[in-house]
Symmetry: D2
């Protein structure tokens, strides 16, 4: 198929290249001319802007927007929306908030165009290994771009099939190939958002566990209850047949193998918007989510030395000391 790709960063360029390898035609645009040139040298058609892309794609066209969430994506989708018409498909492959997807899909639908949101996990390895994709949007549009999605997906590879799914997977192999049509516009990014919320929870579970392992060497503990544990080896052995083996544990093992003290890291941990949106969603649904929330808050807390609340605790404790009357 012919597809336009706007945004040629690491993800966008990887997508473009993986599509070209699978025989698709890519029209590529980025504000960075060098990024365009690099891709053109690999076989893409260079576009100098959205109008040029449209000319080169023809109508109707497929536009894959691969830009940072927020203003860059919003402006680009709006710009495409200004000229698009019946049959055009606009794909947002970034990390947009799913309610923005719902709004954009409605706006495009008024012009006869369709909007597809693709939540993507897999990062920089996607070019080689494929991208795990959660897709939202109109069924016909998603089916139409299926060759694109199938080319980007990792495929079944060496990961065993899930027992009990064989019949369903033989009928519709997309899930086991690594992509799904999750539902209408927004559903793709919603599922990806929850995915990231879970990711925070998983990461924090490991973080706390290793904190407890490390703290076991503390000289505040009774001497015969102290253990000076080798965290590097523990991470490694848990990869080997334990029930907590995971890809995040693999990363942990790699990180610890480099430096058991992780001295290169300050421990000030960023969060993207998706963790927060996940908690928003939980609250809208009235679903308790203590673990996911605690994981998010641990990141907030990692970025301040002392909260004002901590100082307030100290002030109250100071107050106990005799400087105020007891209630009577």
């Amino acid at each position: 198929m012919k597809i336009g790709i706007i945004g040629l960063g690491r993800m966008g360029a990887g997508i473009a290249r993986r599509l070209m390898r699978a025989g698709h035609e890519v029209v590529a645009f980025d504000r960075d001319e060098q990024a365009v040139a690099a891709l053109a040298s690999d076989g893409a058609v260079a576009a100098s802007g959205l109008d040029d892309m449209r000319a080169k794609l023809g109508t109707p066209g497929i536009y894959w927007v691969m830009l940072p969430a927020g203003d860059p994506t919003e402006q680009t989708v709006t710009a495409i929306g200004a000229f698009c018409g019946t049959g055009d498909i606009v794909i947002d492959g970034g990390n947009s908030f799913y309610k923005d997807d719902i709004r954009r899909a409605k706006a495009l639908a008024e012009k006869g165009a369709r909007y597809v949101d693709v939540g993507t996990s897999g990062g920089v390895w996607g070019l080689e290994r494929g991208f795990c994709m959660m897709v939202g949007g109109d069924k016909a549009a998603v089916d139409h771009i299926d060759p694109i999605l199938a080319a980007l997906a990792p495929g079944i590879g060496t990961i065993p099939r899930t027992p009990g799914r064989e019949a369903a997977d033989n009928e519709d192999p997309r899930a086991e190939q690594g992509y799904i049509h999750a539902g209408p516009a927004g559903a793709g990014h919603f599922v990806k958002m929850v995915h990231n919320g879970i990711e925070y929870g998983l990461m924090q579970a490991y973080a706390e566990g290793f904190d407890i392992l490390k703290g076991k060497a503390s000289d505040k503990l009774p001497e015969d209850e102290r253990f000076d544990l080798n965290l590097t080896d523990i991470a490694e052995v848990w990869r080997r047949g334990s029930v907590i083996s995971s890809w995040l544990l693999d990363l942990t093992a790699i990180g610890l193998a480099k430096d058991q003290d992780l001295a290169q890291f300050t421990g000030s941990v960023a969060d993207s918007g998706e963790g927060q949106w996940t908690i928003d969603a939980a609250m809208e649904e009235k679903v308790p989510a203590n673990v996911l929330t605690a994981a998010l808050f641990a990141r907030y807390r990692s970025r301040v030395d002392h909260t004002f609340g901590d100082k307030l605790l100290s002030a109250m404790r100071f107050g106990f000391g005799g400087h105020v009357e007891m209630p009577q």
Copy 2:
């Protein structure tokens, strides 16, 4: 009544003086001879040690141990246990772990003596205002020392009676006088322990609320959603008819009135053992206690710059960046 008091720190001395004011005879001992002398000058009988105290109290005697929990209390109770006999009553007014009370009561009972644990809230204001006391131990022993407890308790004062309790309070006025016989040995300290667990939760609720109020001035927020709130006035107004008025809020208001920025505090917050024991109790009972636990953990967290767990999160995130293969 005649009572021996071991430990003449701020609490012990306050108890001794309040008892003498009520006409009780106090035999006083402390390792610090000056503390003994100060109390003797107020009318107490000075004792030079436990043996001397016993001689001056006569047998059977009442011993009130008012020492730090842990070794000091344990050693003193053990020492009294070595010579005590039928009819003696040993009171632990400190913050012992309630399972220690259970053990000590059994040991003393074998010698015919009785052990009473008194959990006390009220701090340095107790001398003037009285102590709120939660008492555990054998009923006959607790009844025997009732004149002591009644003298120490705050009494009904200006706090209104609780509607619906009038008949019960007229029959047994102890609760509304500010002390209760909570149950057998250990029950007093158990109730006091949970009291402190709740205290941590209440304090943290205020701390987080004020943190959110203060954070509303952050320049990371959209300009028209920023408020530069006067926390001092907010604490004050909440004391005035709001549903979250409390003595801890009074302390908050006082602390903020001195300095809205609480600049004298670092925000490194200690915890006594009682918060931890409360969570232990919750787990033994299989009772979920997310708020009390989060309050305790916030104090732990306040005392470290960055956890090792935080660094591990960073290491995993670093791993996403392309330095490891995705699972396949």
Copy 3:
């Protein structure tokens, strides 16, 4: 002053009556004609609708909207906005989301009118005791309605002044009188929102503490570590000089005095929007708020028998049992 009051439910009627007692003139409207008639018989001027109210208030007028948050308030403010002009003041005394206040204030300002948001704590007792109020809006407008606010506030009453505030309170007595001008439009409801967030946290701290007390009678515990505690008396004694005394504890003592088992309650606990908005605000500010969040989630959890997540845990545990291959 002359003021129109729209919404004559328990809160609105209480406000109207307290204002009339203080000598203010009230023009009253409610969809419920009987509510209007009842207030008219107490001296209010009855209005048959907003237009009639406007005629009877004259221009510029002061409108106090006391309706449920959401559509009722929004529609009424919009309706007033349609006819209002220079000098009019529209007060929202309900529980609106503070971002709605910010938006409405802007819309009204374009017509020369001003919007004031009043967060109110105190409930049904406000008529007699006064309302604790947190006010947002344009300073001139808030100052203009100061006689209204002063009449509604509880006044200093028997609650002691806060040490260290005397000079400030003598200069501006509003906070100790029970109301504050918190900031621009929205600030009043924002402060009230956080107030409610804290309230949830405080309530849950008590709830968990009493849960632990009650669970101590469990026959799963070793027999000599079980206590059958009198929760009613414990709540009462903690009111008496302990550091966790509060108005919420007073309510707890009353509830337990009626029935120690609380058998009339199912334990399915509602939450208003304000707890959720507080967590939203915390996340926008990147402030960790584990206690307030856990308190909110405990309410969500109280309203479902079993979460789907619980079932998923069981499914995973079932999977351990041999029905799936270990990772290798």
Copy 4:
């Protein structure tokens, strides 16, 4: 080597068989004579009791105790301790509390014997795939039983080596073979305990995420923000190249593939002691562990319909309604 195995349940029998396949000699005992007979028919030497086992093992002997933690293990270790002597090695392969290990190791050491604790993950698949083992105890003893551990371990299999560990793994291949000597007695079970604490956290992260996905179909949400998501396909697609792929997710996918509604499960979730001990350890070390604790508490909460605390919240809310005076 020659080894006695006490306890021939699924795990014990699996261990015995895997050892025999590797050429080790097993002397087997269980209270259940049929279990002994079954193993004898596979080549084990049947023992009729501990004394008989000792006779058949000779001295010094290696005893692997594979019984439920608590009394069964304690009694057996004590019984072996009664007759053992210099050179004997007692291995506890169950889930003992690590402080019990420390105590037992000291007791055995007084007789010249050594105690080794082996925390094992891998469950019923261990026979075929091997057991992931975390081992505590005296270095010489652990080295002595290395052939046993090596035979039980899964070996490197198809799991890729961890980059950066190659040199270390070539020198000491145990970690990548699936077992480690974690430290002195107790260290093995301590590491296994934290492993299980992490497991709870991971499971709860998935549980909450799927709860949020499922809740997205709620008819309380605005109609255009509802998604009726296929959880089965979502679990599957996340196995395919996403960053949250794990063995627990594989189990989730299998469970959902059987029944997307998980209708066979009630959602009442058990917990072993290890989650609780992990939190105990965190508190002893003063390490905040909000996620692991919330995961544990979610299980407690899953087993009660309504907590007493929930009812107390309702009672307080009822109190707001006018049945008590506001603070003044």
